[in-house]
Symmetry: C2
Amino acid sequence: MAPPFIVDIHTHVYPPSYMNMLRSRKTVPYIHDPPSNATPRLIILASDDDPSIPLDQRGRPVDSSYSDINAKLSFMRQHGINSSVISLANPWLDFLEPEEAQVWAERINNDLEATCARVNQAADPTGTSALHDKETLFAFGALPLSAPSPDVVVNEIKRLKILPHLRGVIMGTSGLGKGLDDARLDPIWAALQETGSMLFLHPHYGLPDEAFGGSDATNRYGHVLPLALGFPLETTIAVTRMLLSGVFDRFPQLQILLAHSGGTLPFLAGRIESCILHERKFVANGGDVPGPQRSVWDILKTNIYLDAVVYSTAGLNAAVTASGGTDRLLFGTDHPFFPPLESKDEKWASVTTNYKAIHAAFDTDNDAVTAVLGGNAARILNLK
Amino acid sequence: MAPPFIVDIHTHVYPPSYMNMLRSRKTVPYIHDPPSNATPRLIILASDDDPSIPLDQRGRPVDSSYSDINAKLSFMRQHGINSSVISLANPWLDFLEPEEAQVWAERINNDLEATCARVNQAADPTGTSALHDKETLFAFGALPLSAPSPDVVVNEIKRLKILPHLRGVIMGTSGLGKGLDDARLDPIWAALQETGSMLFLHPHYGLPDEAFGGSDATNRYGHVLPLALGFPLETTIAVTRMLLSGVFDRFPQLQILLAHSGGTLPFLAGRIESCILHERKFVANGGDVPGPQRSVWDILKTNIYLDAVVYSTAGLNAAVTASGGTDRLLFGTDHPFFPPLESKDEKWASVTTNYKAIHAAFDTDNDAVTAVLGGNAARILNLK
């Protein structure tokens, strides 16, 4: 039996132009180059920019794996990944001044397209070899969300459709600054729906420090609380606000890929649905707020895809049950985040944990394993 | 085949003395009696005490089901529940002045004991009938956490062991005011461990409004965001802080029942474990913070029990996989919260949803259904 075709749909890059932009900044997000030869530091989370920590130790070390596409290809080879759908890492272009947004979105997206084209051309110079002989790349584009008008975003969504290797867009949870239940986003949802573009929804902002007991408590355990709990909850809140405000009622063909297996959505979907059915404020229950018209289960089976970046069979079992099957679950790695702390040469535990969980969750069902590892991604994102 | 013995381990009461105390208050938590004959309002969440909402509409209606034990017994009968382990509802005694805490804890716990004794005596006057002929009650006690010294709490934990119907304690996530990773809680963990008392950990404080986009966004959808997402995350954060601070390393026999199937712990356990293994701050990875010594999976299978109040098979599948089997999962209802909005006579959807999910999750495994519905609770809490 041929090995399965493996696609990584959750894998990030900071193109060199973006890295240089971060180097020129002194506020989050920024890159700090220590005066010595020590590894540069990447400070992208507000909680990392703690004045009580020396600048040379803030954030996390950032090496070439963040921007060098050869490091990505080498990582793919090491872990048996045939194709990756790369995306700009958080915080994307959210922080840009309004007048800079459009030019940076076009620059980043053109960079992504050029990189994919170059790599795929090298992998298959004659355009005839099977897709999985050498590693290939596709991309999710970045959006100019801080632009002065949503029209700029809409235009970029339309422009991405003519770039051959772009397969949708990645987006954070702040939208136009007020979250994803903001009615001003409707033209953007409409453009995504009309163009059939996949929206990869990804966290960055986490939860306020107070949720963890204040900044002392938040920082006491390094990144564990913000990354392990803050990120997934941010995603869950964002998509629940979309649901509650009727986005999926108004745009019933919207296609969303949720990072980290939906944050916690598969586990909490039942509680969300129960709370909606018991909420007196909604019209269906005699209140005066419209409330969602479709159930969370319908949306999970129709509009939502989940990555398999959840590091456990427990999480995968919930994801598959909530999705109604294995055809909406897609393998990912979160590269270049969570590298091994010691040797860079070993296989990444953050990746092997997810591989093992997928095999353990679907062990007797080879079709399910093959689908989750790459078949679903190839079909849904038309990777060929 | 005899019907299974059904135990509800997540079911709350506000004894009449507690209701009167809430009536005497004007700040959260409080009960407001409208001047007309309208139903009194219970305002227990800070987010409910919104000055822009008329007092007569704030919070939720509170009827006799909150304090009348006959309403509880009638609810049990209607839903086929044989025995309930009742507990004071949130926010328990957290808000009391230090000097009031001890007397109120003793009063509430003595009230609970007297109620259980009276009901069980009526159910079985001769002390010979089988347990499930009539409804019986047991209780989790309340703790005087705002007392001037943890010794007061320790003494109450020890005193509860001599009350025949008490089966452990219920506790919120604020501990002594600074969360559950507060080292000042160690004498309390020690007392719980030494007495073999179950700790029922339950949310109340939710997340800061900012997590949901500010108070406007939080309130836009009634209680859905704070209850559906804030509550489960609060529980998850609390138990993760216990884990990260080494509580389960120092007190390896601690027994904790987590509300709402662990909040989101079963789903996020893999991500929590992965983040711990990649956290440079922890000694195991070369840092200077101890970090937890035991894995989250070990703790889930040794120290933690989960209620089955998760309203979905997806959630139950994650809970059982994370627990390593069905013997740590316990049926509950969350009564008197989430009543039907229309007729009070119908069966509660919030209960039937959980019944259906349990049957659907374990349909071919009668032993598992019987265990989750009551067998586990009877064994673990020694209900007889």
